[in-house]
Symmetry: C2
Subunit: 350 residues, 2 copies
């Protein structure tokens, strides 16, 4: 179902305007229904051939909106022409009474290729996605890899854009923006199943959803290179395990690292009770991670959208409640495929 729509802000309530459009709907053999809105402006619907629907409203405040819905398989050129005709007619009818006109790109719903993946701060954005590369449910989550013309393949976990092949700035940000020397260092990466960090780093241990590895190894090679082809390399080992027992074992053994990079999950957006467990999980991982960090070590992690200031403040509060006192710095980074600025943290022992 495709919705074409525009709206006009008028100088005043122009109820006679809509009558001027009737001849267009008649030509299209559309059936008109005028609805009683109990004083909330003019509202009419028009049903035409091929399941076309036009919704025409004029509010008392002078807002005129037209929605045109058409079904898959309809002649889109004809439909656009109808909208153009309506727009031209309105321009001549309303000449001089128009304060603002806005026509937006069509919204497509129910398509095989879904192009709408809202940002973490809840904004509607349309991606230039032209095909679904991979779409599977693992035991943990839905894993999609979709192809964007500009960003390359994009990994989308449970509807959240995770990483695209264009997103080297994400990987660089969560590795300290090129200011760290990883040579000869021991690095522990938590999460990062897309292989992006692994491809950039030297020596590491990772825990991830095996299916994310499988999908990314094949479809995200610009991000992960060949590092996911083998779970064990000369200087790295990929553990597909729950990272909590692994971390606990390291703490018990006294095993420590120069860098811990936590790429498991963004800071939870909601503070609703059902998110409590995510906050607790975050705290647990953070506490264990700091414990396996060497005194001069650094802990890198993503925060969330720069706009989610309350969420980030909660996270920073949490940093003050760890069993070992820490300091932190943060940076705002533009990750190409995110369509929003993203906050990254560097944390170290006081």
């Amino acid at each position: 179902l495709i919705i074409l729509h525009f709206w006009w802000l008028l100088q005043a309530d122009c109820p006679t305007t809509v009558h001027g459009l009737q001849s267009i709907f008649q030509e299209q053999e559309m059936t008109e229904t005028v609805h009683d809105t109990e004083g909330h402006g003019y509202l009419a619907t028009f049903i035409g051939k091929n399941g076309r629907l036009v919704i025409l409203r004029v509010t008392a405040l002078g807002l005129l909106t037209i929605d045109l819905q058409c079904c898959e398989g309809d002649n889109i050129v004809q439909v656009e022409n109808l909208l153009n005709t309506l727009e031209e007619k309105l321009r001549s009818l309303l000449h001089g009474n128009i304060k603002r006109v806005k026509r937006l790109p069509a919204l497509t719903r129910g398509a095989a290729v879904d192009r709408y993946w809202p940002t973490a701060d809840g904004r509607l954005v349309e991606y230039d996605i032209d095909r679904v590369v991979y779409d599977e449910d693992s035991a943990y989550q839905n894993i999609k890899i979709m192809h964007s013309r500009q960003f390359g393949n994009i990994l989308i976990l449970n509807g959240d854009v995770n990483l695209a092949e264009s997103d080297l700035p994400y990987t660089q940000a969560i590795m300290g923006r090129g200011k760290e020397n990883y040579a000869g260092k021991e690095v522990l990466i938590l999460g990062g199943g897309d292989g992006g960090i692994l491809a950039e780093a030297v020596k590491l241990n990772v825990y991830i959803d095996q299916m994310v590895i499988d999908g990314c190894r094949t479809h995200m090679r610009k991000a992960c290179g060949s590092v996911l082809d083998n779970l064990k390399g000369e200087c790295y080992q990929v553990l597909v395990e729950d990272c909590v027992p692994v971390l606990k074992k390291y703490v018990e053994e006294g095993k420590t690292f120069d860098y811990v990079i936590n790429d498991l999950t963004a800071v939870p957006i909601s503070t609703a009770p059902e998110e409590d467990s995510t906050w607790e999980f975050l705290q647990l991982i953070l506490d264990l991670s700091i414990k396996v960090l060497r005194p001069t070590g650094k802990y890198f992690t993503q925060g969330n959208s720069a706009n989610l200031t309350e969420t980030l403040a909660l996270y920073e509060e949490q940093l003050g409640r760890l069993s070992c006192p820490v300091d932190f710095s943060k940076e705002v980074v533009c990750v190409p495929s995110y369509m929003e600025l993203w906050v990254f943290y560097t944390i170290w022992k006081k």
Copy 2:
């Protein structure tokens, strides 16, 4: 007018589903109209209090869509609850028959603060704009400066996002990405009325819409600094003039530059006849600019959205038809506020 909407992809045509929703509409005292779609699925509209409108469709292919329109001043929590109730009811009615569910952020139309500024490649994107800082019509164009929470103030010329205070990567890209040494060089900037390049550069001459200068001097200071406070500085001069006669005069006088930075306009998107003049203008500026370029000089300019490959190919063809033969390179850059990747060109004399 706010539109809340979601869609469901079902296993099969489930026409009985919609009857299960009737009790909800009755509770809301909404008036139902079932429309004859001549075989194109089920379509009903429901009108409620405060001018609320629900459009319920189920197509033969099993796509169920619900649109809920409400007017400014309506109780948005109540409206969201209604949508939640419909969603819950549908989940229980359709249990096991749901292939996909998608609920998108609400679309707001006619608001004082317009948050929808489509990309150059025609995609719908919502910005985090919270206020209009400046909105004036000059003799040439509409000039808006709007505040985005993440990008700072954004300059929007005739509906096109031009530059935000976050967009240093744009300025750096059009100045050669930090690889040029501007010390002691003579630089000619065409366009760039936002002052971004001027703030980064050393010695230059600029032509711009005086009103863009005025708006940016006050509201885009993170981009332009103080360079627009005076049209003449120690090492720069701003000319608020048509740049064509100025360029022609330079050619006549034999005046040349080390760098010419053309920030006048993006490559025209359309190749429709009405855009012919823009292409001709582009060719004219390009030809004159290359003429005032020293043999070792560089010409920097923006191209357009990385997705507009045909447009960019046309531009590159044009580069082969200049009166002086040139070579070029291009780079794709992520400009934070653009929400799309952008192409920049470096051009030099063969």
